[in-house]
């Protein structure tokens, strides 16, 4: 537990260093690698919150400017990799539309994110926040874990151990 934290921190800081060093290379990389980004309003997003197949879905609301979100993102990536058969991670970005090209897409490319990333662009948050979960006050990061039998909402940050423990509850 303790060590996982330290490893997490080391990873976090080493990643940070790496991006800083790669600043020069970054521009070229964006030109070479075009990615498409799926952008949804809340109605469009709902399908990702209500799939009823045999998988367990982990839907994380985040943004590139949200420091605690960026900190926990590697844990969601790790989960997606380690449980690829049973679990699907979906990263729902709340970055502002004006930042899709300048921040979000470069982040997805540079971090080589393997989980599915979609963007939610729906300003009427008072309407859709309670539809995600009645208890959500609107702070991010926030995460839903669900499958066809069970659903749980978390308005909090995770470390890997916590995340794995929660997901295992769904895989029983």
């Amino acid at each position: 537990m303790k060590y996982a934290w330290i490893i997490g921190l080391v990873l976090f800081f080493s990643c940070k260093d790496a991006t800083e060093k790669e600043q020069v290379a970054e521009v070229k990389q964006i030109l070479e690698t075009e990615i498409s980004l799926e952008v949804y309003d809340f109605d469009g997003l709902q399908k990702f919150l209500s799939t009823t197949d045999d998988k367990t879905y982990v839907v994380n609301f985040w943004a590139t400017w949200c420091a605690p979100c960026i900190k926990e993102l590697p844990y969601f990536e790790k989960l997606n990799k380690n449980y690829s058969e049973d679990v699907e991670v979906i990263l729902v970005s709340l970055d502002f539309p004006s930042k899709y090209e300048t921040k979000l897409k470069p982040y997805i490319i540079n971090k080589n994110l393997k989980s599915k990333v979609v963007a939610l662009n729906d300003v009427d948050s008072n309407t859709w926040i309670p539809k995600v979960d009645e208890s959500w006050t609107g702070a991010i990061p926030a995460t839903i874990i669900y499958n066809k039998n069970k659903r749980q909402f978390y308005e909090k940050s995770f470390n890997y151990d916590e995340l794995e423990t929660e997901v295992k509850q769904f895989l029983k």
Binding site: A63, C66, V123, S125, G138, I140, S157
Partner: protein
Amino acid sequence: MKNTLKTFFAVLTIVALSSFANLGGGHGYHIGDVATDFELENIDGKTVSLSDFKSAKGFIVVFTCNTCPYAVAYEDRVEALNKKYANLGYPVVAIMPNNTEVKPGDSMEAMKARAKAKGFTFPYLMDEGQKIYPKYGATKTPHIYILQKTKKGNVVKYMGAIDDNYLDANAVNKKYVEDAVDALLSGKEIEEKQTRAIGCSIKV
């Protein structure tokens, strides 16, 4: 005697239970609760309390910061709220709730610089020791509480968002805070007492 004892223990149990409920709640205020006053340092070095505002009818308390894009998107609108409502008896009081060691961009120096650059006319207070925001139950920036001054204290009348469009002030359909203060000023019932918006979690 037996009955008196019974009553005594019943009362004791109720008192104990309700005090536990208050302690353990931790979810902050509900509509109708009396909000705590505070004594927090302002960007001019002086301390500010709600009780300083002798002629106020109430307050627009805004938990906000420098570093959250949502808070930044609302800066001008918060300033506009103060310009419009301070003279009508509902001044804006802004409180910065983040841990400045986690978010150095929200330090007192940074708050001063931001307030100066934006020309804030409202107090911008540091929640030193992060003691006030948990009492209110604020979870994010920006997070708004409208209080009405009454004989029993400053009563929470509205909690939530400023309006329904963080991206574009010109495309707003519902001005939640303005509607709520207007209702209070005209003695009407507030239609939407609680709203929700995305914001940055308060950094602890």
